[in-house]
Symmetry: C4
């Protein structure tokens, strides 16, 4: 165990070298004003930062900081069980790799090919007993679909998220993902604001209720709507037949000055708990953060920036080590808050 832990430090040290000038691989990744990644983009690549002033990125972190955990120790001894049911599959943990894509367009030199990056996330997550999600950007096409290829290589242990392109194109992507055996597919509806797509002749669109309904009908796979930051959009996604939503502000990269995702989560949970799978991302770094989201009613969490750093640092092995470290800390945090299984986690553990 100790050697693995040391290895995560090594993975990150390696990533730090490769990401020089793009990401500092700081001990604390919070988009703070002294970080490389922070500040007005004025049309430059976002790097690992947030859009505009970076407030949405920081709000994710700041909202997380406001939540405290209640230590509860007197009780029978156990080692916490973090097993998670994801669309009928038993995962080792309620933590999955997020659908980040286009890592090389973050700025700086090429540090990992998109193909290798996708393989690292999907296979690394699989090796850790969980699932890597894969995304979409302007370099992707039906012909060159790095994410789906990686999912196929992992015998379907993956989720494919498509940008809100033309309906027909999305449906074609979904079909390819079905063939690859994906667990689920989805659309990140907040991608409609993507300049990267628009400026490379890959138009993206706002999607209305009927659009989502059509996408849900187009595939046998569960359809996930990602990019929910209001109860209205959450309810619309559910009513249109989505199997899951991801409360997400795209890591703070699509609109400046949104609240933190974990501020929006409780409202969505109040409205839809038990009616749809509620997943969340944005600003999660540690097993402690993940426990907070579960306490607020999310069923699982996607990890973005740290999975990218792990993949850049040591490919699929890096991702595996990263995910296992998260699981270990989550289990420890569950022990300290008296939660033997995911079912024992509730808002009672927040102080």
């Amino acid at each position: 165990m100790t050697s693995e832990e040391l290895t995560l430090t090594e993975v990150r040290e390696e990533a730090k070298k490769k990401l020089l000038g793009v990401c500092g691989v700081y001990k604390i990744c919070d988009g703070d004003s002294i970080r490389i990644c922070q500040g007005q983009s004025y049309g430059r690549p976002l790097g690992f930062g947030g859009i505009g002033s970076g407030a949405s990125f920081r709000n994710n972190i700041l909202a997380m900081k406001k939540l405290n955990l209640k230590i509860k120790l007197v009780g029978d001894h156990f080692e916490a069980d973090t097993k998670y049911d994801f669309f009928g599959r038993e995962l080792s943990m309620p933590i999955m790799g997020a659908s980040v894509s286009g890592v090389n367009s973050f700025g700086g030199e090429e540090v990992i090919s998109e193909k290798e990056f996708c393989r690292s996330v999907v296979l690394g997550c699989k090796d850790a007993g969980t699932v890597g999600w894969r995304g979409d950007t302007y370099t992707y096409s039906l012909a060159e679909s790095y994410g789906i290829d990686a999912i196929a290589e992992a015998n379907g242990t993956g989720v494919k998220i498509v940008k809100p392109r033309e309906q027909e194109v999305i449906i074609e992507f979904f079909k390819k993902a079905e063939v690859a055996g994906s667990i689920a597919v989805g659309v990140d509806i907040d991608g409609c604001g993507s300049y990267a797509m628009a400026t490379h002749n890959k138009p993206v669109f706002k999607k209305n209720f009927d659009d989502i309904k059509e996408l849900v009908s187009s595939t046998k796979l569960p359809v996930i709507v990602k990019g929910i930051m209001s109860v209205g959009d959450a309810v619309a996604a559910k009513d249109a037949g989505a199997a899951a939503i991801v409360v997400s502000n795209h890591g703070g990269r699509v609109l400046d000055h949104t609240p933190g995702t974990i501020e929006v989560l409780p409202d969505v949970v109040d409205e839809l708990k038990g009616k749809i799978r509620i997943i969340v991302d944005g600003g999660f770094r540690t097993g402690y953060d993940i426990l907070k989201a579960l306490a607020l009613g999310a069923e699982s969490v996607l990890m973005g920036r740290d999975v990218v750093r792990a993949a850049v640092g040591a490919g699929k092995e890096g991702v595996k080590i990263q995910m296992e470290y998260l699981q270990k800390i989550l289990a420890q945090a569950m022990k300290m808050t008296n939660c033997a299984t995911l079912r024992d986690i509730s808002s009672e553990i927040l102080y």
Copy 2:
């Protein structure tokens, strides 16, 4: 589009070189304590900072930060329309260049002549489909009126703001502005505290209700009262016949420790919405910030410091690029908050 965006970075890099020691042209311009511009002036030029401790400048920013935007995506696709009616003229955006003047007295060496600066703001804004406002300082006179000259060159696409000088002098300025074809004229009543004016034998005065009434009667042009930071002054301006007010603390440069302008705005809107045009400035940097002000009920926003930096960096071309960038981001932010036109913007989009 990408080339334009890169150009804004270049414009700012150029400004940074010219403003060495006066303004850092930081990615984030917030008057923070580690900035060149911050701190006690003790009679020195203010540079780009605020007066005294700089609290009023910072409060503008801090108040803005407290407001969050609500992402709302499920809906019909559109590209946002930012067109704005300003006294009967259709502008491309509800964003105008502020009436900053005396840029060279900010400290440091001369970086742009006042004449060229005025031309840059007025012509650059016009080229971007909007309007540049022009101001007044001790170097201005009826004989040497740089702002009005620039407005004349732009065939009247401009607004002339005069310091609260003797009534007769203001009226003469208004007449010159009329001749130049200005859209509107106005007085920044907070200029009564200007040391620069007083110490150069250009006396300035507090203005009472009758003074404002007299100014309104003196011209066929709409009269704008700028420097409103209380409901009382707003109502007085309206009752005296002003066509518009600007909620403004002069960029935090006339009194230390005022609230942020966007904290005062809602009270003024509650009292006067629909009865007078309400414009605001102070701490606005991005299209996101502008959307917040519109959500709170302002009809448009003036941009000061960034327009100065753009003019210093690349003259009227710089100002045009700056304004177009703001419009683009405003349109994107409107898309992400489900506002197809300015009329769709309301406090509903704030979280």
Copy 3:
């Protein structure tokens, strides 16, 4: 006027050189964690900082920052009148020099003799039309009473504050101050915690109601009780016959983690307004700060650290320039908040 302003910058630059390693003479003096003066003393001289963690010093500033001023401009023109009645004398402003003493024991080399320091404060304040208070420390005695000597030289334009020594000693000091023609005398009751005094065989004591009463009876001069941080102590001082109180935490130098003085002031004002003169100090730097205290009901303010820096920088001339600058900014702030005289100042001007 401009030349005077420049001179204050020069005065401070000079002080900065002399106080190297003791005080940075920063543009903002707030006891922040990156300042020389901040942090655990562990028995070392306090320098210009606060005791312990410096929280009391910082709380003075932080509490001040929370108060905002309301700009109010529409009205008849005036230049503000800052004249202040202090025990029957008309001062030019409600701002006096605080009773700081023992400047050379702040640490570092001797930068000004105690005698010269006392002369600088008293004569500099007098030249600015106001009053310098003088204090007491272990190097003072009835034989060597630098403060009273300076007050005598200024024909009594001064106030003498004595540490809470033995009753008889205080009374002897009072008598000497009477002879010197002092306007008033007083005791800083928070001096009972002074290590400097105790460790140099100058014992100091807590004072009870009867002690204060005895001191009041011992002299014809008005007696001031300084070091009030609770309503209870304020009422006791008034009931014992004190003519004035100073709400003060000794610049944050006698107890760590007190609230800011301006947080305590309103409670004291609520209880005693009109029944006793209420003066305040602690964290005041500018005319804006002073206006806030007056708005909360203090009748005047004492300036400590900046007067010391001014005296170190340029003796009595430095103090005069400092006080005049404060008066000028106070007058300007009064104009911007529509207060023609001190009587027009009320909590209405706070936002």
Copy 4:
């Protein structure tokens, strides 16, 4: 007195040299983001920092900062009496050395042997008239029990805290402590999350109500339960027969994102005041901090990090000087808040 104070500075300077790269021995020890000790551990030794992001460590400090003390001076003179009854022994102060152990595994080279460290804490505290607690880590065994040896050398002036090992092992440790004459024994139940123990084949366990009851019955000594951060655990400990509890988050080293201990303290006091001895640790640095805890109802406070630094700096002499300094400042703070004895301290002194 002055020479002692200077010595504390010297002790700390010495510690600073020895702890290079591990602890900065800053004037303010607050786990702030610019400190050496801060940030994600990723399996590395924690050093002097907190676990994970360090939020629990910082929350201890931040919660303390929110509490202010009320100066109250008018009253009869006294020198404060800090004497404290601890299980029938009269201590010089309500401040004891915490049960920190394994100092050399904090990272860096060996700076003090564990044996010498234990002797320093126990004998140094005893010399200052108070008590040093001793802890447990994976290098400890029944054969090599450094803490108990030191307590024996001090004729029993100490408290032995054991990690939550197997019941039989704890009971054996308790028996050894009895033989050594310890004042009390205890278990830090939050040690059940210790990786250091688990990874060195020293298994640790959550303890239930019956486990605690069994431990209480196993010894004639008072049993202390340490690591209480919820009312539930506090009540369970009391009902199981514990003689005292320590409200503690283990210095922020066992779970990230807990509240500050001083936030939890009032709830525990409300429930159990007078029914069990309530002690607290976490983030205490000065006599002022200690006074706050006593005002909130704790009967005494344990000091961790500063005692370690003092021991590293100058062994038992260092610890003695550290403790005496704390006592002196506590007494001074009591004088300034009008508390002649510990019994006079109540929440009335908080502002």
